[in-house]
């Protein structure tokens, strides 16, 4: 065989779909494997923990899992439960097999999301047919999800693109760079994220917040109706000119309310509020309506604050840029009007990271991450799983990460909450003499031999006070490496969900031998 041909065959074999078979008897695994092995690569697991390890390692390649119910270490129901917690069950169909025919076993398997339940002894041809049908059904559903996701994605991308074009036209005329709109969006988003962590008094959903962030780009569209000489006048404005400038808020709102249709679209409604009221002030001294406190919609209150921040910290025809610190100080001192004290608290809380985020926000604008998360959310709400197509980028990142992780001699670990599963990088597992995947690690004897319970308690205390903004914790401690105690630095970062407010989903970390540091 020529080496080229050999390589091609390897590649074909490598690309074949994989089926996971988890059962504790190797004869039983072989029987299933022989029934399916012609067309699929078979991955075998002799207990639930091995099954979870394989599911974790090949999430995209595994197209079907056969799970025995009764297995040592972790049984089939526990594996199913974890597959539910991690949403794997949405992508990977499961066929349960058991010699038990007790009705509540069968029922429980279906309740936990198993697609099929097969009792022993089973017929080879029937199992094979069921396996292929299940895989085909799932792959058809995946294709449909992908189609829908791509369409939503495309639609949202176009919407957002149009809004960006429109707001850029306004800014161009205004003599400002396109950065102002990007900054307003980033600051608005940051303020909202902080606000929903602090209070739920404004009843904001993730969808509304996303719409407000998009609509914030339109806050100044009314300036299209202001004569250019006034807009770009370098010197001080006369009182009359200032009055004309001030009409941009009502002009913007009337532009939107004169749209011949689509008045009920949430985006139009929100943009209208923002345009009209983003110059109102909390104490009623703003314009055009002199609204007081929460008479001003929260969307407009936040964009107003974002607008003032960006106006002060950027250069304009009539002024130089203030530093970030000076800007925050001026706002907090009330030099730019009165704002909701809750929002000033939000600004104080996000202030430290804001300059960096504004830089990142401007750079990542071309990367439509926000759109993708919105698409993902819509699909989740529709009870569909996230499509391959829209998550290509994340997969790419994940593959990259796994590649580098496999090459590096770094001791990395990941702990997921509920159920607690600890996954170690191959090198870390090797160094500590542990398995790569460990369920309920803190009641695992081997782990307790490596790390003192007191250290675990201290770590838990430190982690309990982490937040999405301050997720890092470091601790020096003694770890037992296969009998040898070494001082190590353990650096840990808590992980948070995209929800509002964010939920803690676990942690990632790295162990560094202090001598090697």
């Amino acid at each position: 065989m020529t080496s080229q041909k050999g390589q091609r065959m390897n590649r074909e074999k490598h690309n074949r779909q994989k089926i996971l078979i988890a059962a504790d008897s190797d004869i039983n695994r072989s029987i299933l494997s022989d029934m399916l092995g012609d067309e699929f690569d078979i991955l075998e697991a002799e207990n639930g923990i091995q099954a979870i390890t394989l599911l974790q390692r090949f999430p995209e390649e595994i197209v079907l899992a056969f799970l025995d119910i009764i297995m040592p270490e972790m049984d089939g129901f526990q594996v199913l439960t974890i597959m539910n917690e991690r949403h794997w069950i949405e992508e990977i169909p499961v066929i349960m097999i058991s010699a038990e025919t007790v009705p509540n076993f069968v029922e429980r398997a279906y309740e936990l999301g198993a697609t099929e339940y097969i009792s022993r002894p089973f017929d080879g041809r029937i199992v094979r047919r069921r396996a292929i049908n299940t895989i085909m059904l799932y792959s058809k559903q995946k294709k449909l999800v992908e189609l829908v996701a791509d369409q939503i994605y495309e639609k949202e991308r176009n919407n957002s693109l149009l809004i960006e074009i429109l707001s850029n036209i306004v800014e161009f005329r205004n003599g400002e760079s396109g950065l102002h709109v990007l900054h307003i969006q980033t600051i608005t988003e940051q303020l909202f994220n902080r606000l929903v962590q602090m209070t739920d008094q404004y009843h904001l959903t993730a969808e509304e917040t996303a719409l407000i962030v998009t609509a914030s780009a339109l806050h100044d569209i009314g300036k299209i109706a202001i004569p250019e000489e006034i807009l770009n006048k370098p010197g001080k404005l006369t009182p009359k000119e200032y009055e004309i400038i001030k009409t941009h808020s009502t002009q913007g709102a009337s532009l939107l309310s004169s749209l011949p249709f689509r008045q009920k679209e949430p985006l139009v409604k929100i943009a209208n509020d923002i345009c009209r009221w983003h110059h109102e002030r909390y104490d009623g001294t703003g314009y055009p309506d002199g609204l007081v406190k929460d008479e001003i919609p929260i969307s407009a209150q936040i964009v107003a604050l974002a607008d003032v921040y960006d106006a002060l910290s950027s250069e304009r025809v009539y002024k130089k840029a203030y530093s970030h610190e000076k800007t925050v100080e001026m706002i907090l001192r009330g030099e730019c009007g009165c704002f909701n004290p809750l929002l000033l608290q939000c600004l104080t809380d996000i202030a430290a990271d804001l300059p960096e985020r504004l830089k990142i926000g401007a750079l990542s604008k071309r990367n439509p991450f926000r759109l993708r998360t919105a698409t993902e959310k819509i699909l989740r709400h529709g009870d569909l799983s996230v499509s391959d197509g829209t998550l290509r980028l994340m997969k790419h990142e994940k593959t990259k990460y796994q590649f580098f992780a496999s090459l590096s001699h770094e001791m990395r670990f990941e702990l997921t909450a509920m159920p607690e599963v600890l996954s170690l990088s191959p090198w870390c597992a090797h160094q500590l003499g542990l398995d790569e995947v460990i369920l309920n690690p803190f009641s695992n004897e081997k782990i307790l031999e490596i790390i003192d319970e007191e250290v675990i308690r201290t770590m838990r205390r430190l982690l309990a006070v982490t937040t999405p903004e301050n997720p890092m914790v470091e601790l020096d401690c003694l770890l037992n490496f296969k009998g040898k105690c070494r001082w190590c630095k353990v650096a840990v970062r808590s992980m948070w969900s995209e929800d509002m407010p964010p939920q803690n989903t676990g942690l990632i970390g790295k162990i560094i031998d202090i001598r090697e540091e």
Binding site: I31, A99, R120, G124
Partner: protein, 111 residues
């Protein structure tokens, strides 16, 4: 001795197992692996050491393999033993887990 004769000798009609496992050669292949399978040894040692949870697990696995290969007399015996173990075996592992949990909670309380 061929497998037809073997199955008759243990009182089992072989048609069904050959149909299910798709060929005589498949059945023969699995049967030949059966004596080296560790399940029965695990069952015996678990019973000897009175590790009942392990014994239940092994008896269940043995039942599964025996059913797959239609070694019906063995499947029946495994099923009977499994029933007995589940009904009567003292569940020492559960009590020790519950005991440990409670003691841990009390220790947490004292801190």
């Amino acid at each position: 001795m061929d497998i037809i004769y073997f199955y008759h000798s243990i009182g089992v009609e072989p048609e069904s197992v050959i149909r299910r496992l798709m060929s005589e050669s498949n059945v023969e292949k699995y049967l030949k692996r059966f004596p080296a399978d560790a399940t029965y040894a695990q069952l015996s040692s678990a019973l000897e050491q009175q590790q009942y949870a392990k014994a239940i697990l092994a008896a269940h696995t043995l039942k599964g393999v025996a059913l797959s290969l239609e070694l019906l007399p063995l499947a029946d015996e495994s099923r009977r033993l499994l029933g007995l173990l589940r009904e009567t075996s003292p569940d020492t592992e559960k009590i020790s887990a519950v005991y440990q949990l409670i003691v841990e909670r009390i220790q947490d309380l004292q801190q």
